[in-house]
């Protein structure tokens, strides 16, 4: 009986020690929220979820590596950071837009000082803008119209490879196979009027049945991997 008492006390002691040591072990998590959107003249640019990122570098801590901040599909981003001074870089080849570049083509760096929460909209220049995206349903056919405005018209200008309408049963809508249930494509060569683009697609059978889909328009620009997307719309039919 005494033994049991002794051991149970020992266990209690051990447990207390473990608990006590745990409490002291951890560092405080990063607590400053850095949020914002990728915008052109105040309008956020749609991307495919998880495909576009920018880099944050914090110099002065031995080996350097970047913190990659992923951009959400509505063009917003958020990262929890420690206070300090960072450098923000929009790497080349990310997104259907151009950041500010130096004369030798290397992306420019933005100095970023974080102390407490900070919100910052990153101004970039997209190759094109999707204007007046309107998506409607008529029966089980989804029709989308929009206008395309060519923003970059200098030597960096690029052509449109295709314009597509994507629909999905969840709110993640993009060109990837897992993010669409149907799509309609319009080749770049088939566009006659940039101000009047119309696409329509039939909704396939959805299991389990739902009476709505999410839809948006995507623009694939020739020679640019990431696509540009319009705002997400929920369409009930």
């Amino acid at each position: 009986m005494n033994y049991i008492k002794f051991y149970s006390r020992l266990w209690m002691l051990c447990l207390t020690l473990v608990m006590a040591s745990c409490a002291k072990d951890n560092y405080a998590p990063p607590s400053s929220a850095f949020t914002g959107r990728i915008v052109y003249q105040g309008t956020p640019l749609g991307t495919e979820d998880g495909q576009v990122y920018f880099e944050l570098w914090q110099p002065g801590f031995g080996k350097s590596g970047s913190i990659n901040v992923a951009v959400a599909q509505d063009g917003s981003y958020s990262a929890m950071l420690f206070n300090g001074s960072y450098k923000l870089v929009l790497p080349g080849g990310q997104g259907a837009f151009m950041g500010k570049n130096l004369s030798n083509g290397i992306p420019d760096t933005l100095q970023l000082d974080i102390s407490g929460n900070k919100s910052l909209d990153l101004e970039v220049t997209p190759y094109y803008m999707i204007r007046n995206q309107q998506i409607t349903a008529s029966g089980k056919t989804i029709t989308a119209t929009c206008a395309l405005e060519k923003i970059i018209t200098d030597a960096n200008a690029k052509n449109i490879e295709r314009v597509s309408l994507y629909i999905n049963k969840t709110q993640f809508v993009a060109a990837s196979d897992t993010r669409k249930i149907a799509n309609a494509d319009l080749g770049g060569g088939a566009i006659t009027d940039m101000n009047n683009i119309s696409l329509s697609v039939a909704v396939p059978d959805i299991q389990p049945t739902q009476n709505y889909v999410f839809a948006r328009i995507g623009v694939k620009i020739a020679g640019v991997e990431d696509m540009l997307y319009g705002p997400l719309q929920k369409i009930t039919f």
């Binding site: 080996k63 350097s64 080849g93 060109a175 196979d177 897992t178 020679g223 640019v224």
Partner: protein, 629 residues
Amino acid sequence: MKHITIYLLLFTVVLAASCRKDSDFLDRKPTDVVAPEEVWKDKNLVLSVLAGFYDRFPDYQRIDRWWEFSNFDEAFPSAAGDYWRIQSTDWAYDWWSSWDYAFIRDLNMFIQAGNAATELDAMDKDRFLAEARFIRASVYFDLVKKMGGVPLILEPMDYDFSGDPTYLRHPRAKESEVYDFVLGELEAIKDQLPEDGTQTRATWGAALATEARAALYAGSVARYGAATPEVSLPGGEVGIPKEKAEAYYEKAFAAAKAIIDSKTYSLYQKKDDLSENFASLFTDKAGNPEVIFARDYLIKAGKTHGYTLSNQPRTSAEEQQGGRLNPSLNLAEEFELLNNTFAPFKTNEAAGGFAFYNNIGDIFAGRDARLRGTIIIPGDQFKGITVDIWAGWQLANGSVITGDQFGQIKDKVLPGDPKAVQVVGKDGPIDALEFGAQTGFFVRKYMDPNVGSGRIGTQSDVWWIRYRYAEVLLNAAEAAFELGNKDVAAGYLNEVRKRAGLVTPLTAAGITFDRIVHERRVELAFEDHILWDRKRWRIAHKTWNGEALNATTVTQDLGSATRINTMVFGLWPYKYYDPSGPNNGKYIFKVVKPSRVSKAHNFRMGNYYSLINASITSNNPLIVKQPNQ
């Protein structure tokens, strides 16, 4: 007192004597390591060091790593631990990256010591040095095809302990500069290497074959890279200017033609059965005229690999395992009909309903002999035992009777048949059951027909062929095609095709980019070409575009260079059971996607050149990042 003085004196003498010898005592010649300066005094020692270098020769896909062959939808990995390979969308950016400067340093030190050595015969010395430079050029070729331009380090670098190592930092060379180095180096050493006598050490032929392949890669990066301007860097570390393509293709053609004209090598044509012949090409190590440079294995020396053990059909297995690498239907249907046209395997009649076959192998008849030389199809034999691949009984009413164990026997399952019958093949296919033919196929290429090759205690010593004559012919054909000499290209292609039983020659008008791509895919399947070829032609992002395939689309666009190949499909045979009908006992086939295949592969632009990781860029800030990552 007297004694103490004497002892003291003696002690002092001993102490002094031992002190004097201290440096000699500590500075001893090791008996188990050969010092670098010792190596170049003896021929055999140099050869031993070189053998170590040959062992480190870079390969990506190789027969001692069967699973790497299943990464690109050419085959299905029928092992539960490898299903993730066909269940992921993206390839990580650093998957096939390499930064082996430790090896380059060893080679540089070896070359430096060799150049300074005086004790060896000049002939021997030149050959050894040329071999080391061949390996170094091959390592740089491997780096450039994976990473693009890398720092060209040709002398061993040493740190001077000054506290400032920045002088050891070197920026990336241009991609074209690395290719130029590789080509120049091979051109410089080729005449110091023997013309024959070995297929596993560097030879004149191996140097030229490497040169032909490297020049072809550089040429196609220049020409086809123009279509993907986003895969390039402003400093030229990635991407080669379009104007340079012509010169590279000329070099590739000249190097390939020198090998062809020398008649040192020829196509392997020892057996009358063309499929047998093609399979033997890879396993016959005795006087094989086609092999230019290979990595050898030897059972007696204990240097073996488990390729046959891992992939043997269960019916002829020598252990309770095998069947892992299952070639895909996507690949199998690329093998042409004998009239040089493409057609999917006919599973259904045009009017509807199954197509029936009397024998299980009939559906594969009348095709390129390389089909059965590369893939073990249902009805084929391995080690003299016929494989037993069929998925179940198809009843006339549409239902299917099958089992969940290899070769399962069930009692009274067929309507009107009171007996117990086997309901599925001993080799599968059973969906999601590992080690069986889940696509309906096993691999044949490199499978060792010798007894014991499938035993854990023995395993196989079939060699891994890095360069062979047929590839040289294909390289010559491609270079000629790119230079506009289509009739020359047709001539070389037809030589390779004739050996495969495609005796109707292609005409110059029939030579297209699609043809070149197709011929390499079927001739060089499972030989570590698919990834590099698709990368250099910049079609990887089109063939692995992330679009899901279905049983119809997987049979379309055969022979097209940009045919979508994102998911592995299989072709499953069934026995037809209809006692009252004319088709009873015949075979039917179904195109099936194994249920483990869940995602479509997507080759991102950032995959064209592999990741240079943060620890490298952090140590050397002069290294610029790869594009699109």
